[in-house]
């Protein structure tokens, strides 16, 4: 359904994101080509005069939020650390292009021979920023090229849209709230910018947007999923490491993912009840 919609509107941003996803899928190993293309997207997105109000305001009439129960899956055994998801998210959601504001990010865990603790970094690591050439580009450096790696994997991170979100609990005005379909949102016209929610999130999923002077975080691209589309990061992932769907739909991809893998969640002891389900992480991932 999402594919049809986006193809009908090839000039729109969403259409472009969809095309981009396909492009990425075909050029997964040729990351430099995709990178150049993505820069093009960013440029188009920023220069297009017809750019609609963003994020699109107002409810979607045909969408019934009592009929869905969204959830997210991350298959770390598939992630190749290409960081297309990070870049797509920044473009799609107007996240400031700097190395400390992210709605989603990717962590790399590398175990070296003779060591029992992993070396961990993300795209924000200075070595990786240097490798990318600028804080506006994202790539993992080949810093372990000459090391003896015994185990390594990537872990995409994002808001866990918890069952009992501590961020919602601590908001003094109720600007951040949980929708009936299981998504935690922020009303940026209501947020007073106290940053208590940033403190309360154990996953570091929230950041303070200096431009809007309000808190921001992943919404699972609520403006897209309520229209039947997938979140931008899921759309562009070339290896299907990110899975999104409706728990209410037994045949959805997310239900299939949960059924067919031994999944875990991050920091379960917090009692938050995260709704991002992981496959293939070890206990060092927090």
């Amino acid at each position: 359904m999402s594919e049809d919609k986006s193809i009908k509107d090839p000039l729109g941003r969403r259409g472009f994101m969809s095309l981009l996803g396909k492009m990425c899928a075909t050029t997964a190993v040729c990351s430099s080509v995709a990178s150049v293309a993505l820069e093009g997207v960013a440029a188009v997105a920023k220069s297009t005069p017809a750019k609609a109000e963003f994020p699109p305001a107002g409810p979607v009439p045909e969408y019934d939020w009592t009929k869905h129960r969204w959830a997210f899956g991350v298959d770390t055994t598939r992630c190749i650390g290409c960081l297309r998801c990070v870049e797509a998210c920044k473009v799609e959601n107007d996240v400031p292009f700097n190395p400390h504001d992210f709605r989603t990010w990717v962590e790399r865990y590398v175990y070296l021979e003779g060591e029992d603790k992993p070396h961990i970094d993300s795209q924000s690591d200075p070595v990786n920023i240097a490798a990318a050439g600028s804080p506006h580009d994202y790539r993992f450096s080949d810093r372990y090229r000459n090391a003896k790696v015994t185990k390594a994997f990537f872990v995409p991170k994002l808001c866990n849209h918890c069952e009992n979100p501590p961020c919602v609990q601590v908001c003094p005005v109720g600007a951040t709230y949980k929708t009936p379909d299981g998504v935690v949102l922020i009303d940026k016209d209501y947020c007073i910018g106290c940053r208590y929610c940033v403190q309360a999130c154990p996953y570091g999923a929230r950041y303070f947007n200096e431009e809007t002077q309000t808190t921001d975080k992943c919404t699972w691209c609520y403006h897209r999923i309520t229209k039947g589309l997938k979140p931008a990061c899921v759309e562009v992932c070339p290896v299907k490491a990110r899975i999104f769907g409706d728990l209410n739909d037994p045949s959805s991809e997310i239900n299939e993912f949960i059924r067919s893998h031994r999944i875990s969640v991050l920091k379960p002891w917090t009692g938050n009840g995260p709704h991002v389900f992981y496959n293939g992480i070890d206990s060092e991932v927090t």
């Binding site: 908001c171 947020c191 809007t212």
Partner: protein, 395 residues
Amino acid sequence: MHTFMHVAPFIASPFRGYVYPNETVLPWGVLIVVYPYITGLVAGAFIVSSLYHTFRIERFKPVARLALLSALAFLSFAPAALLSHLGHPERSFEAIWTAHWTSAFAAFAYVAGFYAILLILEIWFAFRVDIVAMAQTARGSMGLLYRLMTLGSYDVSERALAYDRKWTKVLAAVGIAAAAGLHGYVGFVFGSLKAREWWSSDLMPIIFILSAVVSGVAVLVLIYVVSSKVRKAAIDESCMTGLAQVLWGFLIVTMLVEALEYVEMLYRRIEGIGMIEQLIAGPIRIGLAIQVLCSLIPFLIVTVLLARNVRGRALIGWMSISSVLLMSAVLAMRWNVVIGGQELSKTAKGLLTFTPPLWGREGVVWASTLLGGSFVFLWVLARLLPPWEPAQMSE
């Protein structure tokens, strides 16, 4: 492991180990250090005034009304620190009209508002005789102001004064609970967050209340000494010894509970303890050294002062030094909690090092201005309502 200084459009803190990307900009800076500090001064100063107004401990009479004005001056500036921290201060009233009750922050306006009303009422009762006297003598706009402040009540008969005293006593008693509530709530803001290992503790509200009293009594000692010197008025030694006793008692319990907090955290050897140890040995080591030394040294000084029943200039001099040290210790404690908690990454695998900016809304200059502003406001209040007892009037 490596250290790196970001070159970023706004302040990102250097880190080592692994920290979440969004953590490199600390959500709370020096303003949130100053906010609980000023609130603490309110609580401490108020409790001294209640020792006289409620418990009728006569030796505190010379500072009782000064303490009330000090509490009001500090209470007036505590919200300023919070407000200037907000991204949208113009929306702050939403926290009152549409308060989200599961949030500890939502209670602030109500707790502080209740306390402010109570404090202003108590000040009115405690100063009513003076207000009436000044309304009858002052001319011009000041006369009008005092006449307005009488609220039309010019009755200073013995019966009316007894009524005033009764109300002052009740308000001061309720105020002790309100002061403890106001500051205990500030401790809860930090202690209730499970996301931060450094904050998440049941002892946090208790530590905040106890240290608040210490800093509040210390600041009152300084205000009393400085104002007396400026006015060339005598300092009541019995009052000063009384303040030393209060300070000594609260200091012992504060140091014990704070030590307990650290010992428990280290003894439990929870996951990530290695990083906690590195935090103590690293980013907050100076703050921690100030907190410990500036608590222990005044404790020893005050112990000697009380044990040897020191009087005169020596008592006043050493009490002033102790007070300056204790105020530094409590400020350092606020820093160690607020900033230290954020320097310890939520990953439990990394540390950040925060250096506050000098200028700007979150800068040291603005935070100091707010702190200094409360003292200026106290000066204005003391001009408007001289809190000095007749015996203390300058020659």
